[in-house]
Amino acid sequence: MIIRIDFKSETPIYLQLSNQIIENIANGNLKPGEEVPSIRSLAADLGINMHTVNKAYSLLKQKGLLTMHNSRGIVATGSHIAEDEKNMSSVKKALRPIIAESICYGFTNIQLKEIIDELYKDIKGGKVDE
């Protein structure tokens, strides 16, 4: 798994980090049960404060995408149920303002669905967002 952090980006570092880990789980680069690097070593590689990495990992643990494993540290969570009420509501909640914004720009329902299809394919195929 390659992680890229842009220090000049508007997006905070912990979000860049968590977004990329999510994408890597989504495209299968980070398999369920596979461990992510330790907080210290990732922070050292990126040259950032350990709190920042910790923040990203806690966010993902909260979302249920990462879990603590007794012997292997922090690992990607095994299986998810799409119908899980909590997951469903969190996805809806995250999408809502984005869809609202798109409607403001004048996107139609069909256009939006096309965008979603395209992004879904990109992410699944492991295409990196430049």
């Binding site: 992680i3 890229r4 952090i5 220090f7 000049k8 990732l42 050292a44």
Partner: protein, 364 residues
């Protein structure tokens, strides 16, 4: 001072002046005097002028110091090696020249304003250390050797002569003797232990220091860095074992088991292998970097990430960063994060070791 020693000193000086002059510009293709620059930028006349002047200044200072050392050495009746003072003096001057060039190049870039566009990105391969950590399997070897060595010497301790030579004059004749003591005999093994610990530190630096991947082609550059580091690691392990062996030989000659000629030959052999190996590895690293550049096209991205933490382009000081070891920007090795107390401790460690050895040999 005889002729052979003079020739040896001359070669030493030439090598030091040469390496210190080229390393800030040649060893890392994307940095000049520790400033991240694209080739368009450093070929600009103002900047290339600063670079040329600084190299020239370094050579002049070096040559002047070298010549004055030789003159003093030639006319002085003492056997003191004056290079022991002038070489560190030259190194210090070299650092000042480096910082001066660094600051001036930076100012030049700032005044041109062209490079507000420099990216500040880091790419990290999360599996970078999977194979590299295998290098740690070498660690027990020198310890086992030291243990066997201590065991062997302790077994024959009573057979060691009671009066031992402890000082030689410049021509190699013994001019002082001392009475046998545990400290005097086993100080060699303690120094083996310290050498091993320092080499483990170097090894850890190779394994742990920042990946420094090309942000456009992280996968390729990760593979390549891994290969280079693995080779460096094996090299460091071999040198560490060779040094332990040569210290054993020196100990054997000290307790009059073998002739000192043999131990000297083993020691210089080890040093020679170390120097040749280091040069070869450095050349190999350059070649691989060039090859990567020609394969993926020279990347014109200027990556100024963590720039504000590189003081003078030489010292890395970053309190936030938990990393202790980082790859040098100017030169071909590793440096220590001086923003961390552990970094300072590691820097002092060789001195602590040296002092301990002195006390041990003297008073135990």
């Amino acid at each position: 001072m005889n002729n052979i020693q003079l020739v040896f000193l001359a070669i030493l000086w030439i090598v030091i002046i040469f390496l210190s002059s080229i390393s800030p510009v040649l060893l890392r293709s994307s940095y000049k005097f520790g400033v991240p620059l694209s080739s368009d930028q450093w070929k600009k006349t103002e900047i290339s002028q600063i670079i040329r002047k600084s190299i020239f200044m370094n050579i002049i200072v070096g040559v002047v110091l070298a010549l004055s050392t030789f003159i003093i050495q030639w006319f002085s009746p003492s056997h003191f090696y004056f290079s022991a003072i002038t070489v560190p003096l030259f190194m210090t001057a070299n650092i000042f020249i480096h910082i001066r060039a660094h600051v001036r190049i930076k100012r030049q870039i700032k005044s041109n304003m062209a490079d507000q566009s420099a990216t500040q990105m880091v790419a990290v391969d999360t599996k970078f250390r999977r194979e590299l950590s295998l290098l740690r399997m070498w660690y027990p070897i020198p310890f086992i050797m030291i243990f066997l060595n201590v065991f062997f010497i302790a077994w024959y301790y009573n057979d060691i002569p009671n009066i031992l030579p402890i000082h030689h004059d410049a021509s190699g004749k013994v001019d002082r003797y001392g009475e046998k003591s545990v400290g005097m005999v086993f100080v060699f093994n303690l120094s083996q232990l310290f050498v091993t610990i320092i080499f483990i530190m170097v090894q850890e630096a190779i394994i742990r220091s920042k990946q420094n991947l090309n942000i456009k082609f992280p996968k390729i550059s990760s593979e390549q860095n891994k290969v280079i580091r693995y080779k460096q690691g094996i090299f460091v392990n071999i040198i560490s074992i060779l040094l332990v062996i040569s210290i054993s030989f020196i100990q054997l000659s000290f307790i009059q088991v073998i002739d000192s000629m043999i131990s000297e030959m083993v020691f210089f052999g080890a040093v020679l292998i170390a120097i040749v190996g280091a040069v070869m590895l450095s050349v190999k690293k350059q070649a691989m970097e060039r090859k990567l550049e020609s394969n993926i096209g020279k990347s014109e991205i200027v990556n100024s990430v963590h720039d504000e933490h590189w003081k003078g382009g030489i010292f890395y000081v970053n309190k936030e960063d938990p990393a202790i070891f980082v790859e040098q920007r100017s030169g071909n090795g590793f440096t220590i994060n001086l923003g961390r107390p552990t970094g300072w401790f590691l820097l002092l460690l060789p001195f602590i070791f040296g002092f301990t050895l002195f006390l041990f040999a003297r008073f135990v």
